[in-house]
């Protein structure tokens, strides 16, 4: 049977009423658990995997696909509504999404996230089905030096896109880079900045930092304005649905996000977070509404959300074609496959086509189910914002600590939550942007490790970094992104520059 035939067969199975029910249950459970800050898709899948044990392989697979996509999507809902990104890939979503929610545009923000996730999931799943063996060849070309170049590009483009003041953005970024150094150095096993505290040896957990800085820092900041002040949160203003203009501004961002997310997700050391960063930087540079960025630009939600979902599907490329679990989520999925006595590997497409195509069909169905379930729910979600402020924030704080309590309830970890929350408050008070701290924490170790790996392989020859064509091109792009704004500024075209969104104080 050919590719298309297998896919049709898989879809036929997936559309049986019982299977649709499993998909629905999976999506509901995945979304419900995934909305909790600090509980990302990996933990959601890990927690819910046992639920699928009792089912037959087809049912189990489809429920599993539902949980996976549901968990991915769940994170964006709380990021947008409550400014509590529970995982690294939805940090960027919170930036513009929460601003929109506060202005009463939570409905369109959630809708563009949901539809963007759907579009990206659909395209990426189809790419996975038809192009996976080819994409993976390209992905393998990426070695440490190419990843290093990619990280440099991400650093340059992303840090140019943050905040009004370059100085403040850089301070935030370097605070993040400093935090990233805490813990055991991956390459030598040397402990750094841990001061003999064993709990610090594993470094600062991204979710702990993100939840603390966004959710707790925000709560402190709003509380300190006093109870009468009101945070200026409008539950709904205008329509809950997307307007024609929202559509017009979103669809290109979805496609661009997908185009960025899928390849980066399929790289063994890529990741949904980097995809979302690059997508955000791209949207910020291409938008016709630069003045809205930082205040709730819909492209800033649409692009990154599409990118992180496309990256999630991209993760399956190395998993299904090479048997490489490249993310924690994929590693847990491996465990899921193993319950059918199946070892994903390079021969999986040939040896167990029914299961592979069954999974791909399940992903497509789960993706549709997610949209069907979530679009109508949006009007209920936005009502969350109508909960009286004391109760809303009480609930946010309880949920925000839940992730940490469930994963690592040590006093050190919980204290970090409080300390970083306070830091987030202070930074808000003095106008320092929050997101670069998280970006620094995520990108810093990757850049450092890939650089040192590349140099070790080349026995210390720095020329190795530009000797690969891909690395050279990526570094060249980074250089252009860094230098062009400087030249423009030197020519006294600061105004034009401000308009393309790399504004400086």
């Amino acid at each position: 049977m050919d590719t298309f035939g297998f896919l049709m067969q898989g879809l036929a199975t997936a559309f049986e009423p019982m299977m649709l029910l499993y998909a629905l249950v999976g999506v509901v459970l995945g979304t419900a658990v995934g909305v909790l800050p600090g509980i990302g898709p990996a933990l959601t899948v890990a927690l819910l995997l046992p639920v699928t044990y009792g089912l037959d392989p087809a049912g189990s697979l489809i429920m599993f696909a539902g949980i996976y996509y549901g968990g991915m999507y769940g994170g964006s809902t709380t990021s947008i509504l409550l400014n509590t990104p529970g995982e690294s890939a939805s940090v960027i979503t919170a930036l513009e999404g929460n601003k929109m929610a506060r202005a009463g545009r939570g409905g369109p923000a959630l809708a563009t996230a949901a539809i963007g996730s759907f579009v990206a999931g659909l395209i990426a799943t189809l790419l996975l089905a038809f192009l996976a063996p080819h994409v993976v060849k390209l992905a393998l070309v990426f070695g440490p030096r190419e990843y290093f170049a990619l990280m440099v590009l991400a650093f340059v483009t992303v840090s140019a896109a943050f905040g009004e003041s370059a100085l403040k953005g850089l301070v935030s970024l370097f605070v993040g880079l400093a935090l990233a150094l805490v813990g055991i150095d991956q390459l030598t096993g040397q402990a750094r900045l841990s001061f003999g505290v064993p709990q610090l040896l594993d470094g600062v957990e991204v979710t702990t930092l993100a939840v603390a800085m966004f959710a707790l820092g925000e709560a402190l900041f709003v509380a300190a304005q006093g109870p009468d002040h009101g945070a200026g949160v409008l539950a709904i203003k205008g329509r809950v649905r997307m307007t024609a203009q929202d559509w017009a501004r979103s669809w290109k961002a979805w496609l661009r996000g997908t185009a960025i997310g899928f390849p980066i997700g399929s790289m063994p050391a890529g990741g949904a977070d980097i995809a979302s960063f690059l997508s955000y930087a791209t949207e910020r540079n291409m938008t016709r509404h630069p003045e809205e960025f930082g205040k709730g630009a819909i492209e800033g939600v649409a692009g990154p959300e599409a990118a992180n979902n496309a990256a999630a599907a991209g993760t399956l490329v190395p998993l299904l074609t090479l048997g490489l679990p490249t993310t924690a989520t994929a590693a847990i999925m491996l465990a899921g496959f193993q319950q059918f006595g199946l070892q994903p590997g390079p021969l999986l497409f040939a040896s167990a086509p029914q299961l592979v195509w069954g999974l791909i069909a399940s992903l497509l169905v789960a993706n549709v189910m997610l949209l069907v379930l979530n679009l109508p729910l949006i009007r209920f979600w936005v009502l969350l914002l109508r909960i009286p402020q004391p109760w809303l924030y009480g609930g946010i704080l309880v949920f925000a600590t839940l992730g940490t309590l469930g994963v690592n309830p040590s006093v050190v970890e919980l204290s970090m939550l409080v300390i970083f929350g306070t830091l987030g408050y202070i930074m808000r008070l003095y106008g320092y942007p929050i997101a670069p701290v998280v970006v620094g924490l995520i990108l810093g170790p990757m850049a450092e490790q890939q650089l040192r790996r590349a140099l070790a392989i080349a026995q210390g020859d720095p020329m190795t970094l530009v000797q690969s064509p891909i690395a050279a091109v990526l570094l060249g792009l980074a250089l252009v992104a860094l230098v062009v704004p400087m030249i423009l500024r030197a020519r006294g075209r600061g105004d034009a520059l401000a308009q393309i969104g790399t504004a400086e104080d």
Binding site: A46, T188, G189, T326, Q343, P346, A456
Partner: protein
Amino acid sequence: MKHALFGAMVAAALAVPAFANDYMIMAPASPGGGWDSTARTMQEVMQAEGISSSVQVTNVPGAGGTVGLAQFVSSASGDPSQLIVGGYVMVGAILTNASPVSLADVTPIARLTGEAVAIVVPAASEIQDIKGLVDAMAADPGAVSWAGGSAGGVDHITVGLLAKAAGVDPTKINYVAFSGGGEATAAILGNQVTAGISGLGEFLPQVEAGTMRLLAVSSDARIEGVDAPTLKEAGYDVVVQNWRMVAAAPGLSDEQKAQVSADIEKLAKSAGWQKALADKGWADTYLAGADFEAQLAKEIEATTAVLKDIGLVQ
């Protein structure tokens, strides 16, 4: 009033009566990892086989298991219902992290599963056998880059032992640590490094697909169905196994220890455990009692020596 009623309903629905041989297993790692899945598989099987009526798993992640180990030693002392899962990685982590507690502070019960380490090269490599690789390393250690798991982990230790056995200075090996989860495998497939070293299970599918060449395995004897010599056969006296074990709390009486050992033996011999091992592709390396303790002592000594040689431990 309503809430008291709610509480009572929840209690009635969910209360589990306590039995004498309840167990609390600590997985000193995050949910989803190897130790966690060992602990959770034990939980499942012990309950299903009626060895214990109630088994709980707690996760205390951090620093190669040493954070969990320290907590276990201080909080579980003398409590026969508490168990901790661990493994060879912990032996190295205790040394490299200068952990204040060690495996001498717990009561090792049994080794449960284990996996040999495999050495591979990309299919396109000119190197055909383990001798070719070791000779290349002897000629120019820096030119042979090894992709493997974390620094000081079982892969790194194996390369150090191999270098030592082959008369190469272990401090000169060019070991490139990758974060787990297939990144090392990707670097090997992409021809980024000379050789790769990792658990056999991680490489076998690639070897079967012909994208990697398996040069040697670190087991004591040839592994059934795997077409590669052991390092020993090839003339390098290196035997390494990445095992997982279960240990009980310190300060148990002999009777308590015997009871726990009996329960773990029942687990290891049960059909449910055997099936779980087969499903997950884990090898059964059950070893208990004095034999296990002697083996453990020997490995700790060898690991300490090689970590000093590599320069990771002073």
